[in-house]
């Protein structure tokens, strides 16, 4: 089938502002949008810039806005879009560097702010720390996160308010706060409870819809809110 791929192009070395460019392509229904981008890059215009690595939704490189929704290009099949006009734009709320490449630094800054590592100063036992399957299941969802930023850059609050940590960082915090081995919840609290923290979330659910790993992001955010609230009052 023939599809039209419209890409929001921007080359800071040449363009004053981003502009749309269209490409007519021959595509199979089972093609990934990533395949289409490659087709453009390899056969039509080598200057196109975008990130990719694994090609099957596991590395988190290629979150972009496809037909108005954040998705991974490598996990979105042409047939699933149900149209032959496909628009691709960079994810929002992070500075665009070139074409579909954005500056990820602010995103990782928020990640680091919630201390995303196991905090437990007690000397570990000889063997593994024990944890029941039930305790393990409580924080399972958050461990799936691939830090693709699809959620954070779909959040209407994040687009306008750069101080908001964003859903991804809160998912990371959840992963540790609810880990029975972690003792550092109170260390994460200042970042999570500040003006840019969880209370900024307005439960818009774009994050949950966008997450390619099908993590119930809003649910986790709400659990963090409740954890802080009940821990505090």
């Amino acid at each position: 089938m023939q599809v039209t791929l419209k890409i929001l192009r921007y080359n800071p070395e040449k363009d004053a502002r981003p502009h749309w460019e269209s490409y007519r392509l021959e595509a199979e229904p089972m093609d990934r949008v990533l395949d289409l981008l490659h087709q453009v890059k390899w056969e039509k215009d080598g200057t196109l810039a975008f990130r990719k690595s694994c090609g099957h939704g596991i590395c988190g490189s290629d979150a972009m806005m496809i037909n108005g929704v954040n998705r991974l290009a490598c996990k979105t099949l042409v047939k699933d879009l149900g149209t032959d006009v496909i628009t691709v734009e960079p994810i929002r709320g992070l500075p665009v560097e070139k074409d579909l490449v954005v500056d990820m630094e602010p995103f990782f800054e928020a990640y680091r702010a919630v201390k995303p590592w196991l905090i437990n100063d007690e000397p570990p036992p000889e063997r593994e720390r024990l944890q029941s399957p039930e305790e393990r299941a409580v924080f399972d969802e958050g461990t799936k996160c691939i830090l693709c930023a699809a959620c954070t850059t779909s959040c209407p609050v994040f687009w306008v308010n750069g101080t908001y940590l964003g859903p991804s960082a809160i998912v990371q915090a959840h992963r540790f706060i609810f880990d029975s081995r972690d003792k550092g919840a109170h260390e994460r609290f200042p970042a999570l409870g500040s003006t840019g923290g969880v209370w900024r979330c307005r439960t818009a659910y774009n994050c949950t819809e966008a997450c390619p790993r099908e993590i119930p992001v809003t649910q986790l955010i709400e659990e963090v809110k409740r954890a802080i609230m009940f821990g505090q009052m």
Partner: protein, 133 residues
């Protein structure tokens, strides 16, 4: 998952960042109360009365002169203003990226809100119905 502070310094550190939580809870508590207050207000004013024609100084004044209604209205005024202003604060924080602009807009908004509350409160207690002939 232990948030409860075990030492004083810990408690202090935690307490400094509790403000946003307090506002968040307040929005919910006041919201629930406002459902009754606002919808009650709407009902009594806009549905029972023909607000568009029957509402006159007399009607309002007679109503406003009882202490119960004074209190009802004052609570309504106070909670909705506080709730709404904090909501505006969220919105200002979201859409005004420049810290300078934020401060100025907030100063102006809070001043106006303050004046409205003062004005409203004074007038509320000033109602004292003596029928005008």
């Amino acid at each position: 998952m232990a948030f409860r502070a075990r030492r004083l310094e810990e408690a202090k550190r935690l307490s400094t960042s509790n403000l946003e939580l307090a506002w968040w809870v307040f929005m919910r508590v006041s919201g629930v109360m406002l459902v009754f207050l606002v919808l009650g207000h709407l009902y009594t004013r806009a549905v029972l009365f023909n607000f568009h024609h029957d509402l006159t100084y007399d009607v309002v004044a007679r109503n406003m002169s009882t202490v119960t209604w004074k209190f009802y209205n004052w609570l309504l005024l106070f909670l909705s203003i506080l709730h709404g202003t904090n909501g505006l604060r969220y919105i200002i924080d979201d859409y005004l990226p420049s810290p300078r602009a934020r401060v100025w807009v907030k100063v102006i908004v809070y001043t106006l809100v303050f004046l409205v509350v003062v004005f409203g409160t004074i007038s509320l207690w000033a109602w004292n119905y003596t029928p005008v002939r």
